[in-house]
């Protein structure tokens, strides 16, 4: 199946000379949830803005459902929803009116029943006649989502949807994303909460300094890059790693009280058993053993760190 969003060699340089994107290639499959991870200033928002038509690219092409985002902007923008990062709303409009406005702007006929359903889904219905400036930050975020859903987009961009949102609302948001996916909406979200990507994404893309460092299936990524670590706590500290343990590449930590061994859990043999027997042969007494799995966060930090 052809990807629903296809980005080819996309570049963007600003008049100031700053290059936000350096030749990005990215395919987004229909119906998936793709999380784009990257530090601030990595180019996430610039990329989304180009797909949505807010920023003009310097080079490259973007197609959405086979249509070019510049030449066939009417077709692409009708099926794209955008929830921006900033809480930009008209202060003096009511919740209902601003959502109805978004629907009209996208060329859809008024549909009060649909808007009521969206507002109820987002627990905003009892606030429908409230002026936007009287809403809390979390509610404004939900209004922005309601606006983007008002014209039933097929592709939804969520730019930092849970930035500054409390834990319970974040969980609500994740459930909403799940429901949308179930209804067939493709979702692209940017975040720098690794936990968020780990929780809801199917695939994860890492972007930094205007380049996509990798795009992988989440599980494959975790398995591929997810190193496990075995920490052996010794009863008596040692001054140096014993000769017998050198083939294992263990490292000595904490003044010689701990030995750390890294292994690949996806590998055929982890080497743990032979390491432990080598330890006892070397005459080292073991007090405790623990293993740790690297999280997406460690993977991310490692990747972004390499780029520096």
């Amino acid at each position: 199946m052809a990807p629903i969003v296809s980005i080819r060699n996309l570049t963007k340089s600003y008049a100031t000379g700053f290059t936000a994107l350096k030749g990005v290639d990215l395919d987004i499959e229909e119906g998936e949830i793709l999380a784009l991870l990257g530090p601030n200033g990595a180019g996430k928002t610039t990329m989304i803005s180009i797909v949505c038509g807010i920023v003009t690219p310097s080079g490259g092409t973007v197609t959405v459902a086979g249509n070019d985002v510049i030449r066939d902007f009417r077709k692409t923008r009708s099926i794209i929803g955008l929830v921006p990062q900033e809480l930009t709303l008209d202060a003096f409009e009511t919740v209902w009116n601003t959502v109805a406005f978004s629907r009209g702007l996208h060329g859809c006929r008024p549909d009060p029943a649909l808007i009521e359903r969206i507002l109820r889904d987002l627990s905003l219905y009892d606030k429908k006649d409230t002026m936007l400036r009287h809403l809390s930050g979390g509610m404004r975020r939900r209004v922005l989502i309601a606006k983007a859903l008002s014209y039933e987009p097929k592709v939804l961009f969520l730019d930092e949807p849970t930035a500054g949102v409390d834990v319970s609302l974040r969980k609500d948001m994740w459930q909403l994303v799940e429901r949308l996916r179930a209804s067939g909406v493709t979702i692209i979200l940017t975040t720098h909460y690794i936990e968020e990507a780990e929780e809801i994404a199917d695939r994860i893309g890492v972007i930094n300094h205007g380049e996509i460092l990798l795009v992988e299936d989440k599980r494959a990524l975790m398995a591929k890059l997810g190193r496990k670590q075995l920490t052996v706590e010794l009863a008596e500290p040692v001054a140096a790693v014993p000769e017998a343990l050198s083939p294992y590449g263990v490292a000595l930590r904490d003044d010689g009280t701990r030995l750390v061994y890294e292994f690949d859990r996806a590998g055929e043999r982890t080497g743990i058993a032979s390491l432990l027997s080598a330890l006892s042969q070397a005459g080292l007494r073991v007090r405790d053993v623990s293993t740790e799995q690297s999280s997406l966060e460690d993977i991310f930090v490692a990747l972004v760190g390499e780029g520096k």
Partner: protein, 253 residues
């Protein structure tokens, strides 16, 4: 053509007018009434007729123009500046709407508001002085063309302005002198020859003169020249607006 989008933008802007009824409608009516009290009743009663028309009636078209220009520039500029200022412009830029549709929505609403307020001022004026309209069709034509071109002009200012200071530059500092020196309150034939010549470089003179001709058939310049001036101004505004959208000037990076 995305007609729903045009309707949405238009209705959104008109709703803003309803919310600010006091400053949109009541304030210009009071201001104009004050002009009529001061110039029409107090000073005008001691003045001779100007070119066969009582002074109060003579200034009515100029006052309507003054209000129309201010309203159209103010509404046209604010309508597009405010989304830029708050950031809600993202929605307009990412919607399936073309430049033409955006302009029709914003400029149409600004012109409508200007026309409504202008009509109210005309009604207010007729309450103070006797007003006759010799050429109603020409009057409406001038009225509508001026409203559209100055709303478009306001729209351009709204896009160009980077802060509230620049936004207010035209309505506060440039339009009042042009209107006051454009023969709104006098016939330029009353001026010394040098200032008469200078006045011909003032575009507002042509507007006021043509508009007044449609009422009383008196004019400082030929109504045809006035009409062509308005059309030329409209054409220039359209061309600049087209360029703005083509290049994304101050709207898109």
């Amino acid at each position: 053509m995305n007609l729903e989008a045009i309707r949405s933008i238009y209705m959104f802007e008109m709703a803003r007018m309803r919310r600010t009824l006091l400053q949109s409608v009541v304030s210009p009516v009071i201001t104009t009434s004050l002009y009529f009290v001061v110039f029409g009743a107090a000073i005008g009663s001691r003045m001779q007729e100007v070119e066969g028309v009582s002074y109060g009636a003579f200034i009515a078209p100029g006052l309507i123009m003054l209000t129309l220009l201010n309203q159209c520039i103010g509404n046209g500029s604010f309508g597009i500046y405010f989304p830029k200022f708050t950031g809600t412009i993202y929605e307009i830029l990412s919607a399936p709407v073309s430049m033409i549709e955006i302009v029709i929505g914003y400029v149409g609403a600004a012109a409508t508001k200007g026309l409504i307020v202008g009509a109210i001022i005309l009604a207010t004026a007729s309450f103070f002085v006797d007003i006759s309209i010799a050429h109603p069709f020409v009057m409406v034509l001038f009225f509508v063309l001026t409203a559209v071109s100055f709303s478009l002009f306001g729209f351009m200012i709204g896009i160009w302005a980077k802060d509230f200071e620049q936004l207010n530059l035209f309505p506060m500092l440039i339009i009042p002198p042009l209107v006051f020196l454009g023969g709104s309150f006098y016939s330029i034939s009353m001026l010394p020859p040098f200032w008469q010549a200078v006045s011909h470089f003032n575009p507002v003179l042509y507007l006021v003169s043509g508009f007044r001709w449609s009422f009383y058939e008196i004019a400082d310049v030929s109504p045809v020249v006035s009409f062509l001036t308005v059309l030329a101004f409209l054409a220039v505004c359209l061309a600049i607006t087209a360029w703005i959208f083509k290049t994304g000037y101050k709207l898109k990076n």
